[in-house]
């Protein structure tokens, strides 16, 4: 099932001679159970793509479709509701509200969507348990490590009915081992039925994706998928250390 679709999407910032063509006709689909990484140099359009994919920005031309809904046909209110119910974001930092506990942070999108506090709390605690943070609900963000904070952010991103996870450099400030643990978690959440778009400049992190899309100057210049026969890697000379 297709969760996210970008159809010939263009995005131009500004106008006249100083107009910046951030995206030029990008087409991309992300299926359920699929993690797609987006790589490219600074200014290639990665963040614009993610903002459009999450309905935070509108394309100048082309369409963005989430769960079959063309975002351009939505009213402002319907778009906000779709974002709350269907899309979760994980950023490098500024992920969690410092004055709320982990459980309250995870429950927040549900409560914003009209779910009562009493109903949202057990759902939030279950989401925390799914990211191995059972018992951490009452802790405030500054009482958690960087890796634990990102796990809370992932729990919040996928709480309730949300199935589209958009991550922008989610391991930026983390050490190698903790960053890898976050990616393993992202991967397992996608394997369990979510769909994910991961923007990163780290090839080692992008490698957890099923497909890696290379952006340059707002255009997808290449896509890298899995090998047909991965085991060959271990016997060919190029694969030997």
């Amino acid at each position: 099932m297709t969760i996210l679709e970008l159809r010939s999407v263009h995005r131009v910032h500004g106008g006249g001679p100083t107009a910046v063509h951030a995206l030029r006709g990008v087409t991309l689909t992300v299926e359920e159970g699929e993690l797609v990484a987006v790589m490219g140099p600074s200014g290639s359009g990665k963040s614009t793509l993610l903002n459009l994919a999450g309905g935070l920005d509108r394309p100048t031309k082309g369409e963005v479709v989430i769960n079959g809904t063309v975002l351009d046909t939505c009213t402002r209110r319907a778009l906000a509701a779709l974002r709350r119910r269907r899309v979760g974001y994980v950023f490098q930092d500024l992920n969690l509200l410092a004055s709320l506990t982990a459980a309250e942070n995870v429950a927040l999108p549900l409560e914003l969507d009209g779910v009562s506090v009493r109903q949202a709390r057990p759902t939030a605690l279950a989401a925390l348990a799914e990211v191995d943070l059972a018992g951490y609900g009452p802790r405030f963000p500054d009482e958690l490590s960087g890796g634990q904070q990102q796990r809370v952010a992932i729990a919040r991103a996928l709480v309730g009915q949300r199935r589209l996870l958009l991550a922008d450099e989610p391991t930026g400030a983390l050490d190698s081992q903790t960053g890898e643990a976050v990616l393993r978690l992202l991967r397992s959440k996608v394997d369990a039925g979510a769909a994910g778009v991961l923007v990163t400049h780290e090839a080692r992190h992008a490698a957890w994706a099923d497909r890696v899309v290379f952006l340059r100057d707002g255009v997808i210049v290449d896509t890298s998928g899995p090998l047909d026969q991965p085991d060959e890697l271990l016997t060919t000379p190029g694969g030997s250390p």
């Binding site: 790589m39 140099p41 393993r184 991967r187 400049h201 780290e202 090839a203 080692r204 992008a206 490698a207 957890w208 994706a209 890696v212 290379f214 210049v221 290449d222 896509t223 890298s224 998928g225 899995p226 090998l227 991965p230 890697l233 271990l234 016997t235 190029g238 694969g239 030997s240 250390p241």
Partner: protein, 183 residues
């Protein structure tokens, strides 16, 4: 351990990434025996002869573990040479060379990562560390390719190279020399 056991132990700890033939194992054992670094023990009932390490062998082994691997001993890097030659060969789209390599390298990285994801972190630590060594080496290549591309953008004019010209037939490439390379 006898030769077959040594081979099995080596391959188990390196996940089969460096296949050994047993003849190579016995040749090495003979050389180590000649240098008094191992000594043979009486053969077992199956006719297999185990070896044990000597004190001199332990000392040599400790010295090996304590010595860094010299990068100058590594073979020449064909990719670096290819890119260097691509830059000074008229008609070659260096951006395309970089991107073709990056896609292939990325694919390799994805597969190593898939093997990592499959491995059991608790019981396959040595295999995971060998995989990590390959992951970091491949990642370094991608980073270097990114750096090459950034340098190309900064130091070469866009007209000197455009995506896709490598896909042209050789005859067309000759024509491009005339048309595209700044003199």
């Amino acid at each position: 351990m006898h030769g077959y056991q040594l081979r099995a132990a080596f391959e188990e700890s390196t996940g089969g990434t460096w296949p050994l033939n047993v003849g190579q194992v016995y040749t090495t054992l003979s050389r180590l025996e000649r240098d008094d670094l191992v000594r043979p023990l009486p053969a077992n009932d199956a006719g297999q002869r185990p070896y044990e390490i000597t004190a001199a062998g332990r000392k040599d082994l400790a010295a090996w573990f304590g010595t860094p691997i010299s990068r100058t001993d590594r073979p020449r890097d064909e990719l670096a040479i290819k890119l260097a030659l691509a830059l000074c060969t008229p008609g070659v789209d260096v951006h395309a060379v970089v991107q073709t390599q990056r896609s292939a390298t990325m694919r390799t990285l994805q597969e190593y990562t898939r093997l990592k994801a499959r491995a059991d972190q608790a019981v396959e630590l040595s295999w995971l560390l060998v995989l990590d060594a390959m992951v970091f080496q491949v990642e370094a290549e991608v980073r270097w390719l990114d750096h090459c591309e950034a340098s190309l953008v900064r130091y070469t004019s866009p007209s000197a190279s455009s995506l896709g010209s490598l896909a042209q037939p050789a005859a067309d490439a000759d024509t491009e020399v005339e048309q595209e390379v700044p003199r």
